[in-house]
């Protein structure tokens, strides 16, 4: 079997990378907020499911993908507030609540899929209005660049734009300072009168809204449909990206792009007749490698730091 690299590595592969990275990136950005308040949010996966489902419901009900987006945001916000209440007020373990949310999301969407839309397994219909692509005025006329940057769905642009917004909010605004203070040293935050609970509520709510965007993207762009388990592990990839970046948006973006690229490459390779079972493992192998590499790097840095300290001691 001959594989022509020139036909695999093309501009459209990179465009596909951006597209595949988008839902993971949105969930990542949201998860960064909850993670910076000190909550390890394993419920992202379920929130993506809920977002994707209610985006479809909203789109059918209002006849507009933007209406679908609003439905998704409302649904994910409610789910996040329930999560927050159970974790913060009833003091349930965040991991357990997150897992419960994931299981609940699967069950609920399957049930409502039948109850509301009368479908089983998946739902697809001409009534379902998806987003349409955006051609960017000047860029669309520049060759090469246009293929890469123009003609994406709106949420792709929003996702990448949000990286900057999230960075600015976290590292430049008082709100972001308070979020990070709560996550890093809750006693320090309390000592100066910050209410940690309120901050955590906010972090979880923001995570929900971002997952609503990510979910809407999955069900209302390209393929306009909802199917069971539509998020397919993207919420977990987002957790990996957050972990890789230690909660910082820019390194997390890098991780998302790597995942997106692996995804896009997997799709492409499938077209070239490689066994799909092997190819589809690619994104997860990449995840494994990325996390392993970052863990090794962190450990080395820690070891070097402690060696430094020993050198400076004064006994």
């Amino acid at each position: 079997m001959e594989i022509d690299l020139n036909r695999i590595i093309t501009l459209s592969l990179f465009a596909a990378t951006l597209r595949m990275a988008t839902p993971v990136l949105l969930a990542t950005l949201g998860g960064i907020f909850s993670s910076q308040t000190g909550i390890f949010h394993v419920g992202l996966e379920g929130l993506l499911d809920i977002g994707a489902f209610f985006a479809v419901v909203g789109s059918v009900a209002t006849g507009s993908p933007w209406g679908g987006l609003v439905y998704a945001i409302v649904a994910c916000s409610i789910a996040s507030l329930i999560f927050a209440f159970v974790h913060l007020e009833l003091r349930a373990n965040e991991i357990i609540v997150g897992l419960a949310l994931n299981i609940f999301a699967t069950g609920m969407t399957n049930f409502l899929l039948f109850a509301v839309l009368g479908a089983t397994g998946y739902y697809q219909s001409p009534l379902l209005k998806g987003f349409s692509v955006v051609q960017i005025p000047v860029i669309k006329d520049i060759p090469v660049i246009n293929e890469l940057l123009s003609g994406h769905f709106p949420l792709v642009y929003i996702a990448f734009f949000m990286v900057i917004v999230v960075y600015l909010v976290l590292y430049r605004t008082p709100f972001g300072f308070h979020i990070r203070a709560v996550g890093e040293n809750i006693d320090a935050a309390k000592a100066i009168g910050i209410n940690p609970k309120r901050i955590k509520y906010a972090g979880l709510l923001i995570a929900g809204v971002f997952c609503a965007l990510g979910g809407s993207f999955m069900s209302l762009s390209y393929l306009n449909l909802f199917s069971e388990g539509i998020s397919a592990g993207r919420g977990w990839l987002a957790l990996a990206a957050i972990n890789f970046g230690l909660g910082r948006p820019i390194p997390a973006l890098v991780a998302c792009l790597i995942f997106g690229f692996a995804d896009a490459l997997a799709l492409r390779l499938q077209q070239f007749g490689l066994p799909s079972q092997i190819v589809l493992m690619l994104p997860y192998i990449v995840t494994f490698l990325v996390l392993g590499a970052s863990a090794i790097q962190r450990e080395t840095r820690k070891r070097n730091a402690s060696r430094l300290k020993v050198g400076h001691e004064h006994a």
Partner: protein
């Protein structure tokens, strides 16, 4: 001079402890007031009340003559009170400047204005003579710099009264000197400073007046220039010779059962916590190790028990060198261990009582039968220990966490001493936080054990306990061990001077 803050008739009771009784205190503006006292004297409780962290059961607080209610630390801050806790409350990834302004960030168009942070922090830093590198990350800053940031944090919030809880506990000598210089500068600029300390040398060096607390009460307040360390030590630990002595005098010690040679140990911060300690514990002897908490006691004991690496030195049990062996080997060679934190290191709190009772012997006969535990033997042993050591429980099958503190401690003592194999007992704070009857029975058990020929190394921050039980007393002060000799009528004074740092006679710095 005008009064800055005063408290009248403050009372505060915790379950079983009268932490503060009828406290009256008045501090003038621009004064440096030291509050000294042993562990558990009620200093920290009083400071927490003045900072709004605790509500007093009765009594009132006045700031500049006006009564205030401090329901929270927020209320205290808005009344011009700032506190620097012993454990700093900084966000590691923030710069020192950002930490100082956190919660009151200067803003420009919704964004944090780093330029103005730097400006205003530099301003107060220069005004009050507390140098810091504003852009240094908190996690990279030295301990002294972190502390200065904490002080600036209070000043930035407009504090006129600063409360410092053992500010020198974490500092090197150099840093301590610098801190004192800064405190004097602050006082000159009209700030009122209250600081808690154990170390009389430092109190004498920096304070204008000193208030001594003991057992929840104020013993007295003296002009620091008119006192010396011996007077303060006496006020701190009382005048009585040795009250409530439980040990008979004149016991003849046997041969050496536990010997420590040139022990050096590092603490978590990698500083030397135990410095060249030499010690011999004889059979039939109770050797008391007195000293204020945090002077290396924990580190020393953990190193002896193999729970913490020894930097250097040797541990010899009954002539056998057990340095650098495992904790199990150390225990098997005849050392019993009663740790200070009973719920964390003494028992597995969620395990059943019988499980904890066999925790040191489960792996060998008669309890262990290769792959299984012998339930019958275990129940026998458990029943026997429960009865002999008066552990009040309806059954050995109960979760240990349901027992009271005293019962848990008797369980530990029973497990450690019940088999009567140990030749040396290392007991750390054996009666801390335990009711009177529990304390009494544990002390009796330790003494009985010594009478049977074993050596008991009793480490306790409770001086009365050390003096009531010991034949001989040594003192740990800043990681060094000093001999205070056999317990006699003068021992209290000698120990007091050693544990407050006036070993070379009385100090008066002023």
């Amino acid at each position: 001079m005008a009064e800055a803050i005063s408290v009248k008739n403050i009372n505060k009771e915790f379950p079983g402890v009268k932490a503060n009784q009828d406290i009256n205190l008045s501090v003038n503006q621009g004064e440096i007031r030291a509050i000294v006292g042993e562990n558990g004297a009620g200093k920290t409780t009083l400071m927490n009340i003045m900072y709004g962290l605790y509500q007093p059961d009765s009594g009132s607080i006045f700031i500049k003559g006006k009564e205030v209610k401090l329901h929270s630390s927020r209320a205290a801050i808005s009344n011009g009170i700032g506190m620097v806790h012993q454990h700093f409350k900084l966000v590691p990834s923030f710069t020192l400047g950002q930490n100082i302004v956190l919660g009151m960030e200067p803003q420009r168009m919704g964004f944090v204005d780093n330029k103005r942070i730097n400006q205003s922090v530099k301003e107060i830093s220069e005004k009050y003579g507390l140098p810091i590198k504003v852009n240094n990350l908190a996690r990279d800053a030295s301990v002294g710099e972190q502390q200065r940031a904490e002080i600036l944090k209070a000043l930035y919030r407009g504090a006129d009264i600063l409360i410092l809880d053992e500010p020198t506990a974490v500092l090197t000598d150099m840093e301590t000197e610098e801190l004192f210089e800064m405190l004097r500068g602050l006082a000159k600029q009209g700030k009122t400073i209250l600081f808690i300390s154990h170390k009389l040398r430092e109190v004498l060096a920096v304070s204008d007046t000193t208030t001594v607390m003991r057992l929840g009460k104020i013993v007295g307040t003296v002009q620091t220039s008119e006192t010396d360390s011996c007077q303060l030590a006496e006020m701190m630990i009382g005048r009585d010779t040795v009250g409530g002595r439980m040990r008979q005098n004149g016991v003849h010690p046997g041969e050496v059962v536990l010997e420590l040679k040139n022990i050096c140990v590092r603490d978590e911060r990698n500083l030397l916590a135990v410095k060249n300690v030499n010690l011999q514990l004889h059979g039939s002897e109770v050797l008391g190790v007195a000293g204020v908490d945090g002077n290396g006691q924990e580190e020393l004991i953990e190193a002896v028990m193999g729970l913490r690496p020894l930097l250097s030195g040797e541990v010899i049990v009954h002539g056998k060198n057990i340095t650098h062996t495992s904790t199990r080997k150390i225990r098997e060679s005849g050392v019993a261990y009663i740790p200070s934190d009973r719920n964390k290191s003494g028992v597995a709190i969620d395990a059943l009582i019988w499980e904890n009772l066999i925790a040191s012997d489960y792996y060998r006969p008669p309890i262990s039968a290769w792959l299984s535990l012998r339930q019958k033997e275990i129940l026998q042993i458990a029943k026997d220990l429960i009865q002999r050591f008066q552990i009040f429980t309806p059954s050995a099958n109960l979760q240990t966490g349901h027992l009271s503190g005293g019962n848990i401690q008797r369980l530990i003592v029973g497990r450690e001493l019940g088999s009567e194999r140990a030749m040396a007992v290392v007991a750390s704070q054996p009666t801390r936080g335990i009711d009177i009857s529990g304390t009494e029975s544990i002390r009796r058990t330790l003494l009985e054990y010594a009478n049977r020929g074993a050596g008991v190394l009793l480490v306790s921050a409770d001086l009365d306990e050390v003096l009531a039980l010991s034949d001989r007393v040594v003192v740990l002060y800043e990681g060094e061990l000093y001999d205070a000799g056999v317990v006699d009528d003068e021992v209290r004074k000698r120990v007091g001077n050693l544990m407050t740092g006036s070993k070379e006679g009385c100090i008066n710095d002023k």
